[in-house]
């Protein structure tokens, strides 16, 4: 067995963790979206403490992965962005929780 193969097998549980979700900022955003039905950009910014640009970038990545939908519209004359977790996003978040829990449980004390 090659060293690379051994390394891959050893790291397998960690490698299986969804890297899109694993970034702290995106994990925080997804966690909030997981517990509510939908939220707008300002609310998420207030809850997560991220900057406008940072939040926008992370949301774009989550949207690319198909985990969130971003509905851009207007409330009166003002722009308004609502964000919602998609069904695949909800499934991926649950799977991430399960995988991470498993990895952490397997770690020796």
């Amino acid at each position: 067995m090659t060293d690379q193969r051994i390394e891959q097998e050893t790291l397998h549980p960690l490698a299986g963790i969804d890297q899109v979700i694993h970034a702290p900022a995106r994990l925080m955003v997804l966690s909030y979206l997981y517990v509510v039905e939908s939220a707008d950009f300002i609310f998420l910014r207030g809850m997560t403490g991220l900057t406008w640009g940072n939040l926008s970038t992370h949301l774009s990545k989550l949207e690319e992965a198909g985990y969130v939908t971003i509905e851009k519209g207007y409330k009166g004359k003002k722009p308004h962005t609502m964000i919602r977790l998609t069904d695949p996003g909800r499934v991926a978040f649950r799977e991430y929780k399960r995988s991470l829990q498993q990895v952490l449980d397997d770690l020796p004390d």
Binding site: S31, Y32, Y34, V35, V36, E37, S38, A39, D40, F41, I42, F43, L44, R45, G46, M47, W52, G53, S56, S60, K72, K78, P79, H80, T81, M82, K97, L100, Q101
Partner: protein, 215 residues
Amino acid sequence: MSQKISLKEMERRAFRSAFQDGLVDIFIGCFISMFAIAPFLSTKLGDFWSSVIFLPIWAIVYLILWLIKKHVVKPRVGTVNYGSWRKSRMIKFNLIIFFILVIALILGILSFVKFDSMPGWIHTARFSLIILIAFSVAAYFLDFTRLYLYGALSAFAPLIGEVLYVYLKAPHHGFPITFGFVSCLIMITGLVLFIRLLREHPRPSLQVESEVMVE
């Protein structure tokens, strides 16, 4: 397990953010001020009309606070639609509060019709108990811990008022003093929270919002 607790706490934090503006506190303070002002009006208008007159006043206060929430608070803190768990909890809360109000109404009518010979302190104690239960239920279901304190203060107000009336001959069973104090305290708390929110959450400029939307 700790993950589960953390997500629950996040949901609670998201929901509780709705009360950080102090507007609910201001409304509760206005509501309780009725018990302080109504006794003065009852000599001219009678018990019934001195209470009913507050309905349009509450409606106007509610409308003003709703407009403030819509045009001042929401552009600063954003909008959120809560999940199904919270929605079902709110339905339960509304049903229980409705049930408590019906019981309070029945007891109120009975006290006039049937048990008028009861000592005054029994009416006062019953009134305090209903206030305490209603506030505690609201505090529990809304995860709004300040309501426990408001409930305790409001429940003690008539009892202390009764003591002031008996020992110091305070007018109107001491209600204007005790409820006046409690309502002012609650309204001031609400105002402080509202001012703090305005300071901590400046209104995002239209330009920033537009730039984010374009991305």
